[in-house]
């Protein structure tokens, strides 16, 4: 198993390199010139090209990417132009606030994570039972209710839902505040519902279809033929099998939650990574954009990695596949040794 985890960790490296490369290239080709951005309006062309040199922007593209990964030592005495690179979580300072970009990100990331985790918990609690009931009572009223609600949830833009919730619960009923911040749990209710809705819908639909698929399987018939009562057939034989694909979807959803937070945070003016990103984009704060996009992309990839590993633990077929693979390999090695 450790071998599998190790292999999986290795596999993620090229993906991360690719992701960072794409995001970096996008910033590189973007029309704005960072040197001109930080200099005053009346700067001369000479000032600008000098600044470009100090910032390392006159280097060839690939070398700049290497700087981006491993750090850049500016020829300027001003230490704020140097940075230690992505691997050291240092991509320099924001053009707007002049704070190290990752400092802001790391400060605010727990807020986003809190929102995402709460939304994840809520969506799992709601969606899995709903999907199971829907599938085991196919064509019943509860199946219809679950199906319709999940279709609506799937079709509702989260930012609109958030504003509708504000209108109802903040403006009309005055139950929850319209602005959210992590210190006030009550203020998190609306954003968590907003963020969880799409996930709940997706997971409920997934659980339902997966469950419907599984209860048609021959081994469910075998379980029934043993004289097992229907509840236990579902709980012991159908559920675990049906949840295997659902776990994958939930894993992918964790990433989506982090990203969906961009919109939800904007609606509720919540101080998370999403608002950093949107602010940075609107202010053309290139280092901050680059750092936050890359950061979220890396977190997304890591979450998917964890899901894959969890997946292997719950499905003995995958586990066995890897165990037999590594066994075959070590046998091969042993034979070579003799």
């Amino acid at each position: 198993m450790t071998r599998y985890i190790f292999r999986r960790l290795l596999m993620i490296v090229p993906v991360l390199v690719g992701v960072t490369f794409i995001v970096f290239s996008l910033t590189y080709i973007s029309p704005g010139d960072p040197a001109r951005m930080i200099l005053p309006q009346d700067a001369t062309d000479a000032d600008i090209s000098h600044m470009r040199h100090l910032m390392g922007l006159d280097e060839p593209f690939l070398l700049q990417y290497v700087h981006f990964l491993f750090g850049f030592k500016s020829p300027s005495e001003d230490a704020s132009f140097s940075y230690k690179g992505l691997l050291a979580l240092d991509l320099g300072r924001s053009y707007v606030s002049n704070r190290p970009v990752f400092k802001t990100i790391l400060e605010r990331f727990p807020n986003t994570a809190l929102l995402a985790i709460l939304a994840l918990i809520l969506s799992v609690i709601l969606s899995i039972p709903a999907g199971i009931i829907s599938a085991t009572h196919q064509y019943s009223v509860s199946d219809m209710v679950v199906s319709i609600l999940s279709l609506l949830g799937l079709s509702m833009p989260a930012f609109w839902l958030g504003m509708i919730l504000i209108w109802i619960f903040s403006v009309k009923l005055r139950i929850f505040p319209s602005l959210a911040n992590p210190a006030n749990l009550k203020s998190l209710v609306l954003p968590v519902i907003t963020l969880a809705t799409m996930n709940t819908a997706v997971q409920a639909r997934m659980t339902r279809s997966s469950m419907l698929e599984v209860i048609r399987q021959d081994y469910i018939r075998t379980a029934r033929a043993k004289g097992l009562d229907e509840k236990k057939v579902i709980r012991k034989h159908a559920l675990n099998n049906a949840l295997i694909p659902v776990v994958t979807v939930i894993g992918l959803q964790v990433g989506q939650l982090l990203v969906g937070a961009v919109l939800t945070e904007t609606v509720f003016s919540y101080p998370g990574i999403g608002t950093i990103m949107v602010d940075a984009i609107q202010r053309k704060d290139t280092p901050q954009i680059l750092a936050s996009v890359v950061f979220v992309a890396i977190i997304f990839a890591l979450v998917n990695l964890i899901v894959d590993i969890v997946y292997a633990f719950i499905d003995p077929r995958i586990k066995a596949q890897y165990e037999s693979m590594s066994k075959a390999r070590s046998n091969g090695a042993a034979r070579k040794g003799t």
């Binding site: 090229p14 993906v15 991360l16 690719g18 992701v19 794409i22 995001v23 996008l26 910033t27 080709i29 973007s30 029309p31 196919q138 279709l151 609506l152 799937l154 079709s155 509702m156 833009p157 930012f159 609109w160 504003m163 509708i164 504000i166 209108w167 403006v171 319209s178 279809s209 419907l212 990433g255 989506q256 982090l258 990203v259 969906g260 961009v262 919109l263 904007t266 609606v267 990103m277 949107v278 940075a280 984009i281 609107q282 954009i289 996009v293 979220v296 992309a297 997304f300 990839a301 998917n304």
Partner: protein
């Protein structure tokens, strides 16, 4: 158990194309028609498409982009005086009310439909063609070219859709073309994977071997024999993809990174409405409903198509 579905599968390979495929399509259409929700979705989409095409017949573009400040926030079903360009005034019925600049919300929704439909269709047409072609190549040729394509796809998939679109728009600046590009590119990987998987299952089947034995060239085999047999999942993905792409576009516009005001777009209408939630909730309600119904409609069609194309998935 003994119940057999004797229906010909929509993707059945057949050289005797005409007769067989016609019945397969009829069978598919029969099943699709029986799904009332899917038909409802289809009707809604047709209505939106007609709205998009004939938007100018309902409201002129100038009218819905020009401010009528005196009528700002007029509630639904108010009749108010509007300034015409020639200095004259006229009475106008605001069916869904007016926004913060006194612009007709219904008119902006109808013209917004045009923007959303164009975005949905062009991005998915682009992603569908590029993605299917890449997927077919990867699946058919295998080897190095496959590795390159699939690793590229993996990397694209490793960046969440909206985030990637956000990054593209941030880099290239918010404009209609960049929005199309951003959403188009992020929609590609799903098609690559689907197409590759279909091609892999098809490529070693006998009728392909037969075509190869008869000396058909690769291009011909892919285009004539393989592609038509992979269409079912691609069509489903395209339908759901349109919904996704409209949603992404409105999201980006809501963040101020897509279509810029005064151009009418549902997302930027909601962005404006955000500041007036307590004051004029109708400015919030209707554009959102417009987005929701159209996405819902595409999802219904997508579900209906999937069930109709693959009866196994249903009961």
């Amino acid at each position: 158990m003994e119940k057999k579905l004797r229906t010909p599968h929509a993707t059945r390979p057949s050289a005797r194309k005409s007769a067989k495929q016609k019945t397969a399509f009829q069978e598919f259409w029969r099943r699709f028609k029986k799904n009332r929700l899917a038909v409802a979705g289809f009707v809604i989409v047709v209505i939106y498409i007609l709205m998009a095409i004939f938007a100018d017949l309902f409201f002129s573009y100038d009218f819905i982009t020009e401010n009528q400040i005196s009528n700002a926030f007029a509630p639904p079903l108010t009749t108010a005086e509007i300034d015409l360009n020639n200095g004259a005034t006229a009475q106008h019925l605001y069916i869904l009310g007016a926004d913060n600049f006194g612009r007709d919300i219904l008119g902006r929704i109808i013209h917004g439909a045009r923007v959303s439909m164009v975005i949905g269709f062009t991005t998915i047409a682009f992603a569908g063609i590029v993605g299917s072609a890449l997927g077919a190549i990867a699946g058919y040729y295998g080897g190095k070219i496959e590795s390159v394509i699939m690793r590229g796809t993996d990397i694209l998939l490793a960046i969440p859709n909206i985030l990637f679109a956000l990054a593209i728009v941030a880099a290239l600046g918010p404009s209609f073309q960049n929005l199309l590009l951003a959403i188009g590119i992020t929609s590609i990987p799903a098609f690559v994977r689907l197409m590759r998987a279909s091609v892999l299952t098809l490529k070693n089947q006998e009728f392909i071997e037969a075509a190869r034995a008869l000396g058909a060239r690769d291009f011909r085999i892919i285009v004539r024999h393989i592609m038509p047999n992979c269409m079912a999942p691609i069509i489903v993905q395209a339908t759901l993809g349109i919904a996704q792409s409209i949603l992404s576009a409105t999201s980006l516009s809501f963040l101020g990174l897509g279509i810029q005001p005064p151009s009418p777009e549902w997302g930027n209408m909601l962005s404006d409405a955000r500041s007036y939630i307590s004051y004029a909730p109708h400015t919030l309600l209707f554009p959102g409903l417009a987005i929701m119904t159209v996405i819902l409609a595409y999802n219904l069609i997508g579900d209906g198509l999937r069930d109709a194309l693959d009866p196994k998935l249903k009961r």
